[in-house]
Symmetry: C2
Subunit: 321 residues, 2 copies
C-alpha cells in the first residue's frame, strides 16, 4: 500500500475499522489484518467483483455502488447461514473524487454498523470503476448451509418476492430517472442475513438468487444430484411488479432474472410451519414454490400440472457488458 | 456466480481447489468456501489489486500476470511471518481468451503447489484486465510480526538485494523485449515466506518492500514512533544492477523504487548472528543497513556519517497510470 493510497484509506475508511475489537486483533495499516476466529467456528469466505456498466449502470451514485457491492456480497453469507465476521475492500476508481469517496464511505460505514461487519483491509487503485469485496462469516463447525443437501421430496422455498430487481432494471433501461419500489429493490438489495441465521439447522440446502431462480435452483439440484418441480402460479410476485408488467413478463422476470438477492432453500415438509414462523420473525415472508424431485433439471408446471416454458433460463453477467 | 462463469472457473481452476482438505472444508462452487482455521492460530488477511498498465505493463504474458499477482500478495503474508492458508481470486478479463486463461491457470496452479496455498473462491468478470487477490495466512496467536514493534537501537535489515525490480522496469521502458536477471526480478518476484516464518519470534517488526525502502521503512518508523538511520554504502546491490546502472542510480533505485518484495525488518543487535544463520537457511541473505533511532523519519548517511539525499522518496502506484 503506497503512502498516498494509505492516506486516502485512512481519511475515508479509518472509522469503520476497529468495529469489533474482540475479533479484529489488528486492522488495516499493516501488511495484513489479524483476525481471531472464535474456536469451534468455521469460516465462510466469498469474493465478488462489481464493475460499472456490467453490475450497475454507468453513472450510479456512490451510495448505490457501496450498497449493492456490500449487500450482494453479504447475501452469500446469508445463503450459508453465516454470521458476518469481517470484509476487505479493493476499490478501483478512475480518479480521486472527494465527493464520491465521501458518499461511498458514508454508505459503507452505515452498512458496516447495520450488519456488524468490520472492514479489515483495503486496496485502492486507479482504473475503470470496480469494487471487489471479500466477505468472511462464521458458523459453528458443521452447521453452515450448503447447496448439496437437498433431498427428494423436500419442499422448495424462496424468501420475499422475486423479479422485482429485474423489473426495476427494465424500468431504468426505459428511463434512467425511474424511481419506486422496483428500482429500489435493484439499487438497494437486502441481504437475508437474519433469515439465513434463523434457518440454520432446519433447512437442507440454500443459495442466494443472484443469477435468477432457474439458474440458482439449478445449482442446488446439480450439487444435490436432484431435480426440482416449480409451480409457477405459486411464485411470490410483488404488487409493484404485477402492476408494472404483464403476468407473463412478471413470471419470466421472477424465474430467469437475477439481482433479487432473496434466498432459495429446501427443507423437509415436516418443518414447514417452523420455517414460516422463523422467517417471519426474521423480517421476511417465505413461500413454498415446489418440491425436489429425482429427475435432473428444474421443471416448471402450472397448478394443474401442465408444463410451462420460460424464455430465458438465467442471467449471465459475463456476456452482458 | 453465473453458470457460464462457473463453467470457466471449473474448467481452468478446479484442480487447484481442494489442495489442503484438512483446512478447506468446502472449496469453490457454493455461495462461500468453508475454512477450518486451526485452534490457537490467528488469521492474517490482505487484499491487493493489480491492474494492467499500472501494476504490470500492457501486453504482459498471462504467466507474468499470474506470478506477479500471487507473489506480491504472498509477500504480505511473508512480512507478517504467516504461513499461507488460502486465497481467493477475482479476475476481470477483457474477453474469454482460452490461451490466456490456460497459461494464467497453469502458472497459478504451479505456484499454488509451490507455496502450498489452496484457491478457495473466485469471481470472473469482463472488463479491463485486473486481478484482485485476497490471501489468508496463519500464525500461532500473538506471534505475527507487526510494523509497530521497532525499538530505538534495533538494527535494520533487508533480505536479498534491492533495486533490481525497478532496474528491470527501467530496462523494459527502454526496450520492451529486454530480458535478464533484473527483468526477471520485476516479472517474477519471490515472496520471502520461509524467511518470514523463520524470523518469527526473533525480530521486532517487518514489512515487505513494495513501495520502496524509504517509504516502507517509513511505515515501520511511523507505526513504531521511531526514526531510522540508513547507511547507503551498506545497501545490498546486485552485480546485475551495478553493471547496468551507475552507482548513484542503483542506490536511488534501491532506496526509492518498489516492486522488489524483499523484507525489511528490525531486531535487537543481540540476535544478529541468529538472524543471519536463519535467513541463509531459508534461502536468502540478510544485510544490516542501519539502525532505529528516536528521531522521526528515515535519514540517509554514508559510512562517514555524512548526510546523503535521494531524488524520489517512494513509489506511488496510484499516480502512475
Amino acid at each position: 500500500m503506497s503512502g498516498r493510497e494509505f492516506d486516502i484509506i485512512e481519511k475515508y475508511f479509518a472509522s469503520y475499522i476497529s468495529y469489533k475489537p474482540s475479533q479484529v486483533l489488528l486492522g488495516p495499516g499493516d501488511d495484513c489484518a489479524l483476525l481471531d476466529v472464535p474456536e469451534g467456528q468455521e469460516l465462510s469466505v466469498s469474493t465478488d467483483t462489481l464493475i460499472e456498466g456490467v453490475h450497475f449502470p454507468f453513472g450510479s451514485t456512490a451510495n448505490i455502488v457501496a450498497h449493492r457491492s456490500l449487500c450482494a456480497n453479504l447475501s452469500d453469507l446469508a445463503a450459508m447461514g453465516a454470521c458476518p465476521f469481517a470484509f476487505t475492500l479493493a476499490l478501483t476508481i478512475p480518479s480521486e473524487d472527494d465527493n464520491w469517496l465521501e458518499e461511498f464511505s458514508a454508505t459503507l460505514g452505515r452498512l458496516v454498523g447495520k450488519y456488524e461487519i468490520p472492514l479489515v483491509g483495503g486496496n485502492l487503485a486507479r482504473g475503470p470503476l470496480s469494487i471487489t469485496l471479500t466477505v468472511m462469516g462464521t458458523a459453528p463447525k458443521g452447521t453452515s448451509i450448503r447447496r448439496s443437501g437437498a433431498r427428494v421430496s423436500d419442499r422448495v422455498y424462496v424468501t420475499g418476492t422475486l423479479g422485482d430487481a429485474a423489473g426495476g432494471l427494465r424500468m431504468l433501461a426505459r428511463d434512467k430517472q425511474a424511481t419506486g419500489h422496483l428500482v429500489d429493490r435493484y439499487y438497494y438489495p437486502t441481504p437475508r442475513l437474519e433469515t439465513g441465521l434463523a434457518l440454520r439447522g432446519m433447512v437442507s440446502s440454500a443459495i442466494d438468487i443472484s443469477d435468477g431462480l432457474m439458474a440458482d435452483l439449478g445449482h442446488i439440484c446439480q450439487a444435490s444430484a436432484t431435480g426440482a418441480r416449480i409451480i409457477v402460479d405459486d411464485l411470490p410476485l410483488s404488487t409493484a411488479l404485477t402492476n408494472g408488467f404483464s403476468l407473463e413478463e412478471a413470471r419470466d422476470l421472477a424465474l430467469a432474472a437475477g439481482d433479487d438477492y432473496e434466498l432459495c432453500f429446501t427443507a423437509p415438509a415436516s418443518v414447514a410451519d417452523r420455517i414460516s414462523t422463523v422467517a417471519r420473525a426474521s423480517g421476511t415472508i417465505v413461500t413454498d414454490i415446489g418440491e425436489i424431485t429425482d429427475n435432473g433439471g428444474v421443471v416448471l408446471v402450472d397448478r394443474a400440472g401442465h408444463s410451462v416454458s420460460v424464455k430465458d433460463k438465467g442471467y449471465q453477467h459475463f456476456h452482458e457488458a
